[in-house]
Amino acid sequence: MNPDIIDGFTQASQLETILAVAAGCFIGLVVGMIPGLTISTGIIIVLPLTFVLEPEISIALLLGLYVSGMTGGSFSAILLNIPGTPSASATAIDGNPMAKNGEAGRALGIAITASFLGGLFSFLCLYFIAPLLAEIALKFQSPDLFSLVFFGLTIICSFAAKSLVKGLLSAVIGLAIVTVGQDPMMGTARFTFDQVNLISGIHFLTALIGLFAVPQLVDNFADMMKSETATKNAANIKSVLPKLADLKLMRLPVAIGAPIGSFLGILPGAGGPIAAFISYDYTKKLSKNPKEFGNGSPQGIAAPESANNAVTGGALIPMMTLGIPGDPVTAILIGALLIHGLAPGPLLFVENGEFAYGLIFSFFWANIFNIVIALIGLRYLVKVLVIPRTFLMPTIAILCVIGSYALRNNFFDVYVMFGFGLLGLAMRWLDMPIVPLLLAMVLGRQLEEHLRVSLIASKNDVTVFFTHPFSLFFLCLAAASIFWSFWAEHKSKQKQDQLEI
């Protein structure tokens, strides 16, 4: 057996690491549960911590938050009919009717168990697929890597937006922002306007805080949630431990949701909401009693919940092996790794195998603690739903400011963060997705470097991108994803036109 696996397991099972996972799970459940706070917000809150903690500990914290945030979203979806995170939207369809029928505890138990099973399945995917993929990725050369990153960006755009043009524009704006700062190869300044603070470029974490938090804070100006329903439904929770009959019912939806979630997790940009809805639809089609769906079917909860938690393990695969994040959370994980001098990519398994496996096992522990904390602490956790927003939102606002300051101990970054917040509002106004912009900022440097190295090595021969088999393969995939999303947009447009007529 690979000694790195044992070392990794030992590393992930240290007391401090485990405590960090548990803390992450706790925070994740809380932020996931509160409508108006997403997993990204939770991550922004703990972000400054990752600058000071040891890498394995901060990663453990973030993983716990990631996994539990997915589960926590279902609580408010079930109890309040408001999904705590976008990924829990599908859960509300059947979860809330069950809660209204007085079965809130049963519904929550099913959601938690399905989350656990989905997460566990994706752990197995991560454990077995990631090292293999890293092995293959070691063979990738610069043209291949360029095409891979390019494909990653196009697929993110095609998943993210209703309008392909806006998705792509968002990504291109991100690429333009990345060119600010020193040329990574020549060292000359670009677009810095003689500003010292711009020489090292704009950090994507600064951008992330502004882009995600500010629109969310503004959103919360509008909907001041009533917390009465929460307390009423929460009072109904008796036992959350799922019964044997429920476990049997869950076989089909989990068998559908877990693989779909894991697979869509691997694709950058697809993420939880899409996986949840797709597996909900499939389960409904294959179920023996599809009529129950929408009126409080346990299967209708288990399918999306197993899928959105399975996304987490899937999304870690390209993050670790290729350095390509699929969503804001994995982007932050990359940022946290880089802060500690660990560059994710195929060499992570070769040069820091112990750490790579440590991460995988921390993910395992995150799933264990997720179910344990959720099942035991649920009755107390739901009390946070009554925390008044008047306290919560200003706290998040100042944490955003501190987070952006602490990244480089620079007030300039605070202003940059606020600027990105305004940009986020403008993009919302235009219905332009922000995820492509963010991920383009993470991947932009790589894209440029791989492109330029490919051209230098081939003496400016553009055909290298088509003669390398891997590269050609990724370019075809990129073209396919653009074509598919163009077609899908056209289709939905036609449908809409028919409805209007």
């Binding site: 020193q182 020549m186 060292g187 090292s200 500690h340 660990l342």
Partner: protein, 321 residues
Amino acid sequence: MTSLKYVFLGTATAALMVAGQAQAEWPEKAIEFVIPFGAGGGADIEGRLIAKAMSKELGQPVVPVNKPGGGGAITYTYVKNSKPDGYTVAWNSTSVLTTTNIGNVPFDYTALDHIGQVAQQPIPFVVKKSARWNTLKEFMDECKAKPSTLKVAFAGFGSATHMAGVALTQLSGCKPIMLPVKGPDRRKMILSGETDAAVDIFFVPLKLVRAGKMKFLAVSSGKRNPASPNVPTAKELGIDMEFDLFRGLSVAKGTPAAIKNKLEAAMIKAANSKAFAGRMKKLKLTLAPMGQKEFGAKLAKANANIVAIMKKAGMYQSKAK
């Protein structure tokens, strides 16, 4: 309510003022430890280790901050422009000589005050284990016979690996394709066969050399390295160069001598601390702590050497147009 609030405020501030007075001497706040390279490289890992150990010595946090770019230009400019109060320290490296002499910044290494050196390592010339060249001469001969075909990767224009690469190849009379590639990617490119060779830092690829995946053809230092005693130095192979990657500390010019001496003592103690020395040994870095005087002499000598290499290669002060 309000009275309660004042009680809280009062006790909190009082408690803190007491805590503050106990350490009125330098350092009384956290020290910024600026690392001129991106996270993940060798310089970064070592810097973080020494910062941690120094923090124990000085009783204040020593916070590592990465300010990569321009082969160290950003860090040195930043520290040069910082207040000379010892709270901003640069984790220097050979780049303090290269980036200045190539003309990335409008000053030379004397624009900073230097505290001392912690460790050093040679720059190896690395190829894949299965490569057809077993000696540097074989590589250079093939390179001379077919100019602009063999590829050599290095860290970026103006970096120390670039200097060593230029020195090695130009003094051997060969002209390879030079690929500027960052840390982990450089080693991946050797493994995938995308580049024929790389000029790298010593200890990170050493792990891969020991794992039988790569081999060193030469090292740039004056002496052979004990971690790889069979690898000849460039000088032994008849290439007239001597190049070390060193790591040490610099501060803004005009920092008071008392603070510099404190930093020097803390740095040397930190370097010799069990934890740090152990890590150095494990990493196969040569621990060679030296103080301000000795390091000053070394810098002067190394600077002359680098200027000579650059002039020979036509790179001296080849600033951006």
